[in-house]
């Protein structure tokens, strides 16, 4: 296994901090070998609000993952999210100047460089520039224009950007724990990498990550990412609505949500009540199940409708031939697929990380889509730009070779 590489994905989420450790073999097969998680206390709406608490939670999660995977984590890929992260499409243009009009590698480099010249507000910085398609003299859908003839070459890219300071917060937090951040990736992108197969990307799919603080979504069509977005509304909002509407403490609301929640209103639940036989409350306190479901269903429906509207405005609804894939903790809500089917009028499935192997529960749970996706993202990055072997690694490799391992 000497040629395998350890890649770690870290998501500092609103409800939990999650670390996944993956092993990428020489053939780029990803194998999850460890998971660590801790309850998150210092994060609201996907962004760190209490550095000390968040740091502690991250440390706990990492320690757990190290123990399970039996590795030492030195560097990791970090998922970033928040309402400030946004995605848009941009186009770079470059004229081919050579006499024979043949497009060379330099031309391609230039056009990609041009596409990165984005007019962003000064406090924003680019997270990703993802190449979509090339266009040569208006001819659409060119995957690799090198060697073709043409006068003008264009490239469409999807750009994800966020506020610089708010992107730096989690990075600084990780650095404070004496670990390196290999790269950052938007959570929407990471989740979609984990749950989508090539065919789904080709057909066109919408991935919705229903997190606790932020709901992120990404649209793939014709094999490339076309649209991303984040809405700072999530499971926390559902709990908060319930706490307000049913007049129970927030922690209790969270528990009721998990035990009795539903994304649809069951007509039979109207007359049912739930006993809240908890010491901290008035004995015999009851809440109506119908109210619970109504409050919950309205919030979830609104969230999904906002996404549907945004995607409708981007004109992408018709391209979603493979339907909608849900992941994140919210995907566990009973009937959420039915609700999403009603809102989008498309087939809806719950995302499973089917393209990786490893720890079974890491792959089956929709909550772990982001950290698993981060490992896949890391594997792509490592493949694209192989890590320069550091001094320690060179020594280790030579020692290993010496002993014939």
């Amino acid at each position: 296994m000497s040629d395998s590489q350890i890649i770690v994905g870290l998501e500092i989420g609103t409800s939990k901090v999650c670390v996944a450790v993956g092993e990428v073999s020489g053939s780029q097969a990803v194998n999850i070998i460890g998971l660590g998680q801790a309850k998150s206390r210092g994060v609201r709406k996907g962004e760190v609000i209490d550095v000390a608490l968040a740091e502690e939670d991250v440390r706990n999660a990492i320690v757990e993952a190290e123990q399970v995977a039996d590795v030492e984590i030195r560097s990791l890929y970090l998922g970033v999210t928040g309402s400030h992260v946004r995605g848009f499409n941009n186009t770079g243009v470059h004229p081919v100047v050579s006499a024979d009009r043949e497009i060379t590698g330099d031309d391609i480099q230039d056009v990609i460089k041009n596409s990165k010249a984005i007019n962003l507000p000064t406090d924003h910085s680019v997270v990703h520039v993802i190449r979509q398609h090339f266009r040569v003299d208006g001819q659409d859908g060119v995957l690799n224009p090198e060697g073709m003839l043409g006068a003008k070459i264009e490239v469409d890219v999807h750009v994800v950007s966020g506020r610089y300071n708010r992107l730096q917060n989690p990075i600084r937090l990780v650095n404070g724990l004496h670990m390196e951040v290999d790269d950052i990736a938007s959570s929407a992108l990471a989740s979609s990498l984990a749950v989508l197969g090539t065919e789904q990307k080709e057909l066109g799919t919408l991935v919705i990550d229903l997190g606790a603080g932020v709901t992120e979504y990404a649209v793939y069509s014709a094999g490339v990412i076309n649209h991303t977005g984040a809405l700072a509304v999530g499971g926390d909002h559902v709990s908060n609505d319930l706490a307000y509407g049913l007049k129970v403490p927030l922690a209790r609301a969270e528990q009721i949500k998990i035990d009795h929640g539903s994304a649809l209103i069951d007509p039979e639940a109207r007359d049912l009540t739930i006993d809240l036989s908890d010491d901290s409350l008035i004995p015999g306190r009851q809440v109506n199940l119908g109210h619970l479901q109504k409050i919950m269903s309205m919030r979830l429906q609104e969230t999904l409708e906002l996404i549907a509207k945004d995607i409708g405005q981007a004109g992408l609804i018709e391209y979603l031939r493979a339907g909608v894939v849900l992941c994140g903790g919210g995907a566990r809500i009973p009937n959420i697929t039915k609700l999403a089917r009603d809102v989008f009028n498309l087939p809806v499935a719950i995302g499973r990380s089917s393209t990786v192997s490893g720890v079974k529960n890491a792959l089956d749970e929709p909550e772990f889509a982001t950290p698993v996706g981060l490992i896949k993202f890391g594997a792509f990055q490592a493949q694209a730009a192989p890590r320069r072997a550091g001094f320690g690694r060179v020594i280790r490799r030579q020692v290993a070779a010496l002993f014939g391992r």
Binding site: L231, D236, H237, N240, K294, L306
Partner: protein, 439 residues
């Protein structure tokens, strides 16, 4: 037995009589018209309606000369006969021109009688042009207010409004004619709506639930249009109608009764009309009716606009209107104290018929104390006393009442950056923002 609601159309005073005469000619069957005046001359001109001379003893058929107190005295002396007129009625329209003597003084009393007889009382009041003098206008405002406090609803037709409709050099006759035509069309529109069977029927009960005991001041708009674009035309006409005040009235209305009548109504037409009105009045209670019985290709729109505060408590309401054993009516906020007793001439005139009838004067209210008035009346009085434009102040108040004053706590997200999406704070529970009711 007649299945239709018994509708009485009662004209009071010279203006009222004139209007009722016009209405009686074209009124649908089943509407009984009465003309009541203190002036013999105006009653002699009546041919279509049943006439009754008020105050045979006091003004002796000579009119009141703009003295509303005299008119009140006259109408009280004839209260038994008047009770016979309104007996068994379901709906009583009291048509009166405010500002003069008979209409201003007698309308509230008659409304009270009709109310006690169990009828739904709708006042139809025309108020004078501004140029008729400040005194007349003030008297009209007072009369309108008195009528409003007794009647279930008052439809107000300010003549001044209709001037703006025509040219500046419009003839006086013409101006009056326009104003009267609008009033007649509206009253007829309402009667027709109640009497004619419709596809979407608007029944007497609908109107009743809209206005009963609400003491609302409202308006009726009736418009007609023909041609290919008849619906659009009608909607345009409706919105430009002076009584709608450019949609302002609709916006502030509590309840709206919309009746569409026309041959071969299509769904699209219905939709155009209701969405146009609904767009102007998103919060109002809307009752929509439709009927196909109409002359020619015309489409007719009748809209009853009512805006009021709250529904007065039933028990409170009736008790305040019932005459107390002493024969006095409490709870009627008459603006000017009744002065008939101090005017010796009236008493002299009455000596022939004896004082026995006069002793039964129901309208000798003391100057109202603030406590005797229901709270809404008191507010009205204070507001109107404070302002020269009572209607405008009132409407503004109603809009303010609509403002949601409940402050929703954001709980967990109190201190975090708010999630604002298109002006909506998504941190607040959805069910509150959408107004869902948990019950």
């Amino acid at each position: 037995m007649d299945v239709n609601p018994a509708i009485r159309l009662i004209g009071l005073g010279e203006t009222g009589v004139k209007l009722v005469e016009t209405l009686a000619v074209i009124a649908p069957e089943g509407v009984v018209a009465h003309s009541l005046d203190t002036d013999n001359r105006s009653l002699y001109r009546c041919h279509q309606s049943r006439t009754f001379l008020l105050g045979q003893a006091i003004p002796c058929g000579l009119g009141t000369g703009g003295d509303s107190a005299l008119a009140r005295a006259a109408v009280e002396s004839d209260s038994d006969e008047l009770a016979g007129i309104v007996d068994q009625a379901d709906l009583v329209f009291i048509v009166a021109g405010m500002g003069g003597g008979t209409g201003t003084g007698a309308a509230p009393f008659l409304a009270n009688l009709a109310k006690q007889a169990g009828a739904l009382v709708v006042g139809v009041a025309a108020t004078p042009f501004d140029c008729e003098g400040i005194q007349r206008c003030n008297q009209a405002t007072g009369g309108l207010r008195d009528l409003k406090q007794v009647a279930d609803a008052v439809f107000h037709f300010p003549n001044q409004d209709f001037i703006q409709l025509g040219d500046a050099d419009i003839g006086l006759n013409q101006a009056l004619e326009i104003a009267n035509r609008h009033l007649c069309e509206s009253v007829l529109g309402v009667s027709r709506m109640l009497l004619e069977p419709g596809i979407l029927n608007v029944s007497f009960a609908d109107l009743e639930s809209l206005v009963r005991n609400r003491h609302s001041l409202g308006a009726v708009v009736h418009v007609e249009a023909t041609g290919d674009d008849r619906t659009d035309d009608a909607v345009k006409k409706m919105l430009s109608h002076p009584a709608v005040r450019g949609g302002e009235m609709l916006k502030e209305a509590n309840s709206l009764l919309v009746h569409i009548s026309g041959a071969e109504l299509t769904m699209a037409e219905m939709d155009t009309v209701t969405s146009a009105i609904g767009g102007c009045a998103p919060t109002a209670r809307l009752v929509v009716g439709a009927s196909e019985r109409a002359s020619g290709e015309a489409i007719q729109l009748t809209i009853v606009i009512a805006h009021t505060g709250t529904l007065a408590e039933m028990g409170d309401d009736t008790s305040s209107l019932k005459p107390d054993p002493a024969g006095k009516v409490s709870g009627l906020g008459f603006s000017d104290p009744y002065t008939a007793f101090s005017a010796d001439s009236y008493l002299d005139l009455g000596t022939e018929t004896g004082n026995s009838k006069r002793a039964g004067f129901a309208y000798t209210p003391p100057a109202p104390t603030a406590d005797a008035l229901p709270p809404e009346c008191r507010e009205d009085l204070i507001r109107e006393a404070a302002s020269e434009e009572p209607n405008r102040v009132k409407r503004r108040k109603i809009v303010q009442e609509m403002l949601p004053l409940e402050i929703v706590s954001k709980g967990r997200f109190e201190n975090s950056e708010p999630t604002i999406h298109k002006g909506e704070d998504l941190d607040q529970p959805t069910y509150i923002r959408r107004g869902a009711i948990l019950n």
